[in-house]
Subunit: 700 residues, 2 copies
């Protein structure tokens, strides 16, 4: 979430570095024994062409966009700063119609740029080589921070006299400082009309984990376009900088072994190679699944055109047109001058894809993983490769797909069990201190399991205390000497454009209602009854989950029925979650009003992709999912989109210091009367004869 | 849940069969390449002696109990039917004091028996060779059904004239019938004073999956002790028996392959063997964990004396004295004469351990698993071996323990990630149609993940319909021709005797409360504040979970504080769950009133182990956790037990036919200020050089 990744340096050197690192990773991958040739990918992207209407813009296409913009008349004097160049996806109808070999729908790009403090939204047609639309400041808010914004803002303090004076008074040398520019949020008219950022600093003396060494209370509000310091706040001079002791998490820095028995090597092995294929760079085929997978600057990872093969008749059936993390809201619970604004919207303000660094083979993803790169644009409009941003792997975790044993009551001695093997697409974003792991896991029984893991570093607050006399007076628990782990929430809002057997679907609330029996009717006094209510309009589908008024939530195709007359459908199955409790009128909640419900359903609208609005930075909340939904459009038997918000309350603890063990939660998309019967009834068990023969590595 | 497992036959042959099957499994296990010698176990149990005060009764000890009872004067004329012979665990104080090499506390057994329709609870001292206490009918309720009860009841219909007439009228031959005796529940005084069971029948013509072929509406209420048919109900003659088509789930019976790409072999491999050891038959040691693991007749799997090693100072610290599934409540939502009573309490009525059949290697548990047997007693008091009832394995699922990447903002190029390897103890109970998979998963970061998976067969209802004209009028959806999947719930109540750094603990509700800021105080209008409330008495700890009034629930040791002053603790982290919505006065809910809250905390009391009472069968609910908790005893800084109920609402669907893909949910026990910092900070990453070298099996 907060802070951010990347960059004070020239992008050319960075690109070179990435290519080197990327090649190294790849060579290590392709040298794995048994690694299938079919899952290898081209090492260089410069010659690539798109193979599917949803393929992201290629290196060549991004270059062409830059060329088009360079000769675009309004930019002839000054080239704008590019914040995003993304594929402007063709209309859904065109994509659904398209078949391999067909001519492509026109390739288009959406560009978010900034010029003279104004937001520019442009659409560029790559075929006709022209800008087809251009809107300035369509609503409140700016594009996400560019790498240059972040880089420049992080340097801003060093030329500020007040700042340098304060640092000197604290006995801190500027050479040990690392400053980060978290977003400023939006808190009323005072800071409107200009792009502002908050700059906070940390000491990296003695540790790479500077996050644990905040210079508390020192915060500068900086105008991102002039680099002027608008406000200087310095309240924490009596708060010591926490020591660096035990903050370093690098493996090479660990002086001793942990006091536990070492683990023998363990690995998921598939000597015949993984069972999936990646065709044309983005089409993933595995078992009964086919989908399009790509890296995205903002969402991180986008899954599209998800289809599952009916295991009985072989038909390839639509499940989901597009699924991705649309926004990530992280409000902290501290009113101090240097904390109140911390209410990040990580996708729209920083970009989950922009913040994704290369996955670490064997540790972020198991052996035999396939890695996919992201191709984005630099602030000057050049293509930029994020190597190994997504991994794809087959998982066997020792779980059971289904089982049944029969005892001795009958003549049957039944011991039937099937191992569960799944396919995982993973991306990890390092948005400053926090690391977010996104998993999309596909099961052969048709279930899609979506998980979000939180790791990385806490956003911590300096404190005068070594021992807390009254922790209730603080905004979170003391987690180390002079360090408070401030209470905060995480909300991830997923855009789930379900297309169950086609685009037109309905949303059904299958409510479990307690009924009472009549006297004499039964020895039972009560029972539950499932009552189906089809949502007619958007407001019918603004759902807050209730443990004591439970429902299942189905997306169904009312025109497609099973042989028994049940509509085909998928249900969303929430796991552990949390709700936002902030006042609806509180500025952060207003901007993230899409967390006011856990579930929403909207009619499909290509422009409604981002739950916090297209332009999120300093937005006022005038373009959120909550605003769209208030229009209360009809959603019955229409092309509709399901939105689900997964939440975490986080009260930190000592175990989160200096780096947090991963916390995971998620939800499932599960077939419900979609198949005529259990689609993995005929799946084969594992047999000893098929399993690999392994020996310990030759290394000593 | 319902129906049950096992038996019309003599136990000797059964024992022989089990030994043969068990040996076969074992020989297949021990022949695995690299399988470590240290995890092998003795093939024969007859010579075993206990090594730990909590070790279950051995074959020899069960024989000794039978001998003691045989010469016990009140049983000199008639030997009672034995329903349970279990270790009567020594007092906790004695167990905690005991060290390896110390003399054992006296070995004792608890016996639940039945004689002349009365429940007998006996305690037997194996050292002094005598019955030390003997109580008859201490409360309402009977011991769980014995294998003989089940066997006899399942035969009862065949000698009943009315039954045979009805069957003949339906055109069903008795040779195709399989009858099962689900428990009758308790519905007021009419059926008190005698043990009753309901007997239902199915046709197995054309399929081993007779559960999908119910003889609907035919139900006999049978006196278990006289085998008299008390009531004969026959309402479903117009309902056809569903066809056997597509019901067979045996792999060998599948005529065609599913239409999906076949998967290449995949396996969790550890050529240096697993990292865990099982010492003295029951003590499991792995990484930083030590615990006692045993099979239990009623609970299935019991984890005791759980200790985790502090990774910094090496100290072995108490976490949990005992954890197990105490009861499993499964109410169905149908008022019909042949359905209303279906409100099973599977642990107390049938026994989760009694219902556990041998796990299937490679399919129920991965390669390199270690298998543990259960030793229980037959109705005549003889020892009886349940082979391969528990498996223990190390899991690597491609997950991430913790990670952090740092971008280019600083000079650091950080790519730190650690793979997550865990240890799983698993048991699967097949309580008639349903299969319940219990996983206790231990993580090196101190977290314990408890999961329950549901698979096996639905309890289905015959229906006249092929196509449902109005499904809302039925008690569940049509899931196949003439088959309704009746709506039902599953509630698993866990007994979690947490001992955080010692026995005396407190339960803290850390409530996240929304606070409003004062005008002018902050640009923010609201924030959350964590407020800690220590539960003084039991009623303070009767917790219903609330999404919009959230809390963390901590078990802490108020006398043991971290260096920062935080009490050491663990929290319980619910995942997806469901609450029972039945009327509190409804008989099934009265008996399972322990599901009225999701969380309870009681003072430790050796006699309060079973949430539904010691004698559950036909109990009236006078000995449940809810009754104990109403005493409102003090629980602050005391030896206390945490109870958590995991729930599932189940609205069946076509995919659940003819066998259900596993549905899983669970909860976590997670350290909170228990460690001074992240205990796996110093954990090593995986290195390519350490991983195995594998080749495809030699088989064609």
């Amino acid at each position: 979430m907060e802070k951010t990744s990347c960059l004070h340096f020239c992008f050319i050197s960075c690109l070179v570095l990435f290519i080197i690192v990327g090649s190294w990773y790849r060579s290590s991958i392709s040298s794995l024994p048994g690694y299938s040739l079919q899952t290898q990918k081209p090492i260089y992207h410069s010659a690539e062409t798109p193979h599917h209407p949803l393929d992201p813009l290629t290196v060549k296409e991004i270059n062409r966009v830059r060329t088009i913009l360079s000769s675009y008349e309004p930019f002839s004097f000054t080239f704008p700063t590019i914040h995003t160049i993304l594929l402007d996806e063709p209309d859904k109808v065109q994509v659904l119609k398209w078949r391999k070999g067909d001519p492509f729908p026109p390739r288009k790009a959406q560009v978010l740029a900034l010029l003279n403090g104004q937001s520019h939204v442009l659409n560029v047609d790559l075929d006709s080589i022209r800008v087809t639309s251009h809107v300035i400041n369509p609503r409140s808010g700016y594009p996400m921070l560019s790498m240059d914004d972040i880089s420049a803002a992080s340097e801003a303090p060093f030329s500020n006299a007040e700042f340098n004076k304060s640092i000197a008074a604290r006995g801190v040398s500027s050479s040990e400082l690392i400053c980060l520019p978290p977003s400023a949020g939006w808190f009323g008219p005072n800071e409107e009309g200009k792009r502002v950022v908050k700059v906070l600093c940390f000491s990296n003396q003695g540790t790479p984990n500077f996050y644990m060494r905040p210079i508390e209370g020192l915060v500068m509000t900086v105008d991102l376009d002039t680099m002027e310091v608008l406000k200087f706040s310095d309240t924490g001079r009596d708060i010591p900088i926490p020591k660096s002791t035990d903050t370093d998490y690098w493996y090479t820095a660990q002086k001793k072994e942990p006091q536990m028995e070492p683990l023998n090597p363990i690995s998921i092995e598939q000597p015949k190679g993984p069972s999936f294929r990646v065709e044309d760079g983005h089409i993933v085929k595995w078992a009964n699944w086919v989908f399009h997978l790509k890296a995205d600057h903002r969402a991180g990872l986008v899954i599209s055109r998800v289809m599952v093969r009916d295991s009985e008749n072989g038909e390839l059936r639509d499940v989901m047109y597009k699924g991705f993390a649309s926004e990530f809201f992280v409000p902290y619970m501290d009113l101090d001058e240097s904390w109140y604004f911390k209410s990040y919207m990580d996708a729209g303000e920083f970009g989950l894809g922009m913040s994704a660094l290369p996955l670490v083979p064997l540790n972020d993803c198991p052996r035999h993983s396939y890695y996919m790169d992201g191709i984005f644009a630099t602030p000057d409009g050049n293509p930029f490769v994020h190597p190994n941003m997504i991994c794809l792997f087959e998982r066997y975790a020792g779980d059971i797909s289904w089982r049944h044993s029969e005892g001795l009551l009958t003549d049957f001695q039944i011991r039937e069990a099937r191992p569960k093997v799944t396919l995982v697409a993973r991306m990890a974003a390092s948005v400053g201190n926090y690391d977010y792991i996104f998993d999309w896991e596909f099961q052969t029984d048709g279930l899609i399991n979506v998980k979000v893991g939180l790791s990385g570093m806490l956003m911590v607050k300096g404190s005068p205390y070594h021992q807390a006399p009254n922790q209730d007076a603080m905004s979170g628990p003391l987690i180390s000497e002079n360090l408070i782990g401030v209470v905060h929430d995480h909300f991830v809002t997923f855009h789930l454009d379900m297309d169950i057997d086609g685009a037109n679907n309905s949303f059904v609330n299958v409510n479990l209602v307690k009924e009472r029996s009549l006297p004499e009717e039964s020895p039972r006094k009560s029972y539950l009854k499932a009552k189906r209510k089809i949502a007619k309009t958007e407001k019918d589908a603004q759902i807050k989950l209730k443990l004591y008024d439970p429902s299942e939530f189905h997306m169904i195709n009312p025109s497609k029925r099973s042989r028994l007359g049940n509509p085909t459908g998928y249900k969303i199955v929430p796991g552990g979650t949390a709700a936002s409790l902030l006042d609806h009128s509180d500025p952060p909640q207003l901007r993230s009003a899409f967390t006011n419900s856990q579930i929403w359903v909207t009619p499909y609208n290509k422009s409604e992709q981002w739950a916090g609005g297209l332009l999120t930075y300093q937005s006022r909340g005038d373009d959120t999912l909550a605003v769209w939904s208030e229009r209360d459009r009809s959603i019955e038997n229409k092309d509709i989109v399901l939105w689900y918000t997964l939440g975490f309350h986080h009260i930190p603890c000592q175990e989160d210091f200096p780096v947090m063990p991963t916390v995971t939660s998620g939800f499932e998309l599960k077939p419900v009367n979609f198949f005529e019967s259990n689609p993995i009834l005929r799946a084969a068990p594992a047999f000893e004869k098929d399993l690999p023969v392994c020996r310990p590595s030759a290394s000593p």
